[in-house]
Amino acid sequence: MIAEVKHLYMRACTGTGVNPHYTVILTVLLGFAVAGNSLFYTGGADTLLYCAGILNYFLFVFFKYRYRCSVSDYIPSGEGAIAIITVVLLNILITENIFLVFLLTVLILSLINGLIRIFDDDRLFSGLVINITLLATLVYIAHAHSGISHARLGNILTGAAHISGHALSFAAVCFISALLVIFVTSVLEPELALYSHGRSFFSITGIPPKYAHMTVNLAGAALLAAVILSTGLLAGTGLYIYYMLRQRASLLEMLLIMLLYTQVMVMLTAFAGPVPAVYICVAASYIMHTIYIFRWSDRHA
């Protein structure tokens, strides 16, 4: 029986670019991490939500790489900070309803990305300024009597949907949003790819560029909003993993690495609390970004 399963598995991996040994090791490690987190800390619904969030994150990374040619993940680019500030302000000023927060965050992020295109370059400065602004905003809100507790702020940094009471429903929203983006990108793949090559190449599609800008901004914003509300700032290294491993690892292996990374960070959140875990994630993202810029970007500039 085991031999048969092994034979079937090896045959399924043949020709797909998937390394059967690494995939098994990653899957076993991920299984242990998910089981540990589910049993001792997060519970089943939250685990599912983290997985849905990472699926969105994986698509977000792919989207940034393929269509926006960006070399900054959502932490160094400042997109994550903008999204967190948006969620915090929506929580204080408008509503705590997670679905409404999701919709408004998508709208605000796509507007910001449409108006000021500062997220898709490798300049650390603009992202750093936004991240410092986030820190200052959070410190101010934490010390002001804003009606939002320290614990809630910490939870927003690691995914506001977990404390919304609708973790399972929001996981479904994340899956639906991911499927929608997959559908749109697969239907319009050549057009979006031409968009990534610049205006003169996109002109051959005969589509006005503003529609392409809108589609890319909206899809990117939907993916990022789902990521921020389900996993917060507990990711942020996926784009660099993608750049560094794309010649050697399959998409499945990279997805498993991203899932494993987040599960380890969730475990860290359980032991050390959300804020130290977020500090570590931000530091890891900046370290990966720096390594990428100095060791890899010159090869593909």
Partner: protein
Amino acid sequence: MLEIMNISLSRSGSTLLRNVCATFNDGEIIGIAGRPGAGKSLLLGIIAGLVKPGMGQVIINGNPMDKTAGRKRRTLVSLTGDAFPENRHDRVKDFLLLSRAPHRRIFRAFAENDLDTVDMYIELFNLSGYRDCILGDLPGSVLQRVVTAFGFIREAHLLLMDEPQKSLDIASVRMLCKIMSRYVINGKRIIAFCSNDLNFISQTADRILIMHGGSIVEDGGPEIISTELVSKYFNTDVFLSRNIYNGRPEIHFFPEN
């Protein structure tokens, strides 16, 4: 057949194109020459539908270009400019396949014919060794060849090229000349290109248009190239010889001393 009817364009008070009229016949290779600012690239942009003229219109096979739907127009006209692809992560073969996008029907994958066309031009442009390379890793001259191939792959009725020989080594220029001749050989397609290299134009084009101050001032076969013409419109003294194989004029400079 393409008809350019009384095209004029003014911007900020200065006239960039003035009553430009011309007819491009099927099977022709048309070279457009002129000093910088004469309006060559602008004319190509107007023909391609990327720039709106102030007056006049472009008619392709009896249909006004501005009345032709965007996607249909892209299957009729292809413009290769001087822009390079910005996304350097794409593989050469994937990038070239995108040129067939106007032929692809929505919700459908690229057809077998699209893939075969890409393969054919990869062979013709001698890019087989770079087929799976990513664009960011290509040397400049190879990238130029890829961009030029991108224009051909659409197999549009009218192929427009802006400085196609720029950045190409001598072997690639020779290859490009052959591919251009092959493109129009069935007598159903047209190539129009502009260049600052008069020798390239005289050796390649069946018909030459000289532009000056936004107008077409000379129109004829390669034999119109003369020392007087070069002196008049390019303000340079040269002498001519004839290519011993095709009899076309070749331009040479006088030695300094």
